[in-house]
Symmetry: C2
Subunit: 354 residues, 2 copies
């Protein structure tokens, strides 16, 4: 394995807990924290101690298990199911734009319904197994994305990525970074440029950290430098993750992704999105229906406690933007690559790969 | 006057000193500092206590005056001229890419040569007058840029600017911001979006500060948010300054300007540059001959002392980029507007306005 850290895992049996790397402390400290109840998990998701669509899904699934630990094993199944509904609704409010959050919560609920457990203990045990399965499937999914996508990185290529769609965003290899980890395993030489990704600097703090850990050449840049590098011919492809992809291929991802896609298009550079099929929200026709979450102005004006802007200044702090599908060269999933994604190609892809 | 701060001024007679606002302390503190010798002026230019092409020109001119204060008034003119050459060469190393620095130093040298002073005292007096004239001309130049350009801001427009081409960059109204100050004087309503401008955050610290001081509606954004705002139809024009404009209209300006210009083009939004004619370097045929200064990695990895990236990570930190002339809708100067700038139109413009 190319990476050597653990993003999130379950420790112990049904009364165990979650261990995760606290991503708000990176890159200065790689501290593992214990998460022992659903309130702590809500907080961890909300404050970005765990972030990235697939990792949030895993975290939410484990959060459901944590939320049922207060129900005695011998309690009736109905009591556990009622508690599960409360926990689901609660965890759903932690990060309302993360489609994987809802996907994982719904999957856990479906499993609970289908189990016909004789008591709460049996149900809890089944749900822990399911959460572990979600984690393992995610790890396998990332490997598959890497296998499908790594050859898109030509020998000696310069690769630009934005935000963190890496191992830290998932159970293991990540999505966008899975291409890089796999390419490295395959002996390919390449160089990565990592956008620092204001305001929360996931590129500087997380992507640069995990690529450097894996021994991959990486250069950190500010978001506004990508255009210059493209003009200088130093970038041969762009690959990012996505938080939510509409039925027509429009992709919501970290703020700034859209600008990178437009810049790539203007310089005839392919722009790829790497994301598991669970990121697709086929009930949403296009990006126009994806709400843009706005976050607190302090994220921009008070990074690291320092005040970098006049007190009380107006601030616009969208967390995401939407890249329209015609700016996306291809979407790399764990089931294959969707070239020139649009509504028809995506529908056909899901028909073929179900 | 719409603005109510003093970027740089001379205080006292020939043995006086320079007062300037320390721009590295903004926006949290508007502290005036005294600059009393050429070493302090070199340091002030180098560390960006004073920045912006025209303000650097004024600072350099005053720096020459400061550098001659150690020569007694009754010393022979030749002694003062020899000292002036040393001071010029020294100040020229403070910010090698700022063409206004050289322009001002050469102008001071020319004045010194043409004066035929009888002694050092007479020469020093003449040079202080010249430095004050450079300052006053700059203030008048900014007003003229504002008068020519303000009508490019339509009623209720959204205006995007990058970095700081404001009063803090000049003796008074600035270049890009002169359009806004003048538009406000003319009663026009509009809204400004200010790119924070990583790594040194001149947009957040300086532009947002001076626009808010002047009572102009301003919203701070991160550099990677401009594309989203353009797509949302909230930006109707972009205007920035320039540090150096080649004979064909290619314009070097703060890193990120090129990306903004490409994004504006992709959204059919006019992209203007506001700059005095002294910013033109007609001896440089195109932007390809403009060297890109690279600055220290710590500017990116250690903002405000905080460490935001893994120790020892590779960093690319170009201070400038070059926007090719075909991405520039017009250049607004103190002598008029150059539409669709190219080599021929610029040559004609300078022929007509000399």
């Amino acid at each position: 394995m190319t990476i050597n850290f653990t993003t999130i895992q379950w420790v112990g049996g049904i009364n165990g807990h979650v261990e995760m790397i606290d991503q708000t402390l990176l890159p200065n400290e790689a501290r593992m924290i214990a998460v022992r109840d659903e309130q702590a998990m809500w907080q961890a998701i909300k404050t970005l101690q765990v972030r990235g669509a697939p990792a949030i899904g895993v975290a939410a699934a484990y959060g459901v298990v944590l939320g049922l630990q207060t129900i005695p094993d011998q309690a009736p199944t109905e009591e556990a199911l009622a508690q599960l509904d409360r926990v689901r609704e609660y965890l759903a409010t932690s990060r309302p734009t993360a489609v994987n959050l809802f996907w994982a919560l719904n999957r856990m609920a479906g499993t609970a319904r289908d189990t016909h457990a004789s008591d709460a203990g049996q149900l809890k045990s089944r749900l822990l197994t399911e959460a572990n399965t979600i984690r393992d499937e995610d790890a396998a999914m990332c490997r598959a994305i890497g296998r499908y996508g790594w050859q898109l990185i030509p020998e000696n290529a310069g690769v630009l990525t934005h935000c963190n769609a890496g191992g830290l965003a998932t159970a293991e290899y990540g999505t966008a970074l899975a291409l890089m980890y796999t390419a490295k395993e395959q002996g390919r030489s390449f160089h990565v440029f990592a956008d620092e990704t204001r305001p929360l600097l996931q590129g500087a703090r997380l992507t640069a950290w995990e690529l450097a850990q894996a021994g991959i050449d990486v250069t950190l840049i500010c978001d506004n430098m990508a255009g210059l590098l493209m003009r200088q011919g130093k970038i041969h492809l762009v690959v990012t993750g996505a938080d939510r992809i509409a039925a027509n291929g429009d992709a919501a991802n970290k703020i700034g992704t859209y600008s990178v896609a437009v810049l790539a298009h203007a310089h005839n550079i392919p722009f790829y999105i790497a994301a598991p099929t669970s990121t697709f929200d086929l009930a949403t026709p296009s990006g126009d229906q994806i709400p843009i979450e706005e976050r607190h102005p302090d994220e921009i004006t008070k990074p690291f406690g320092a005040s970098i802007a006049p007190a009380g200044i107006g601030v616009f702090n969208p967390a995401f933007d939407v890249t329209p599908h015609h700016r996306i060269t291809a979407i790399i999933t764990e089931k294959g690559i969707i070239q020139n994604p649009d509504e028809i190609r995506i529908r056909d892809f899901f028909k073929t790969n179900n």
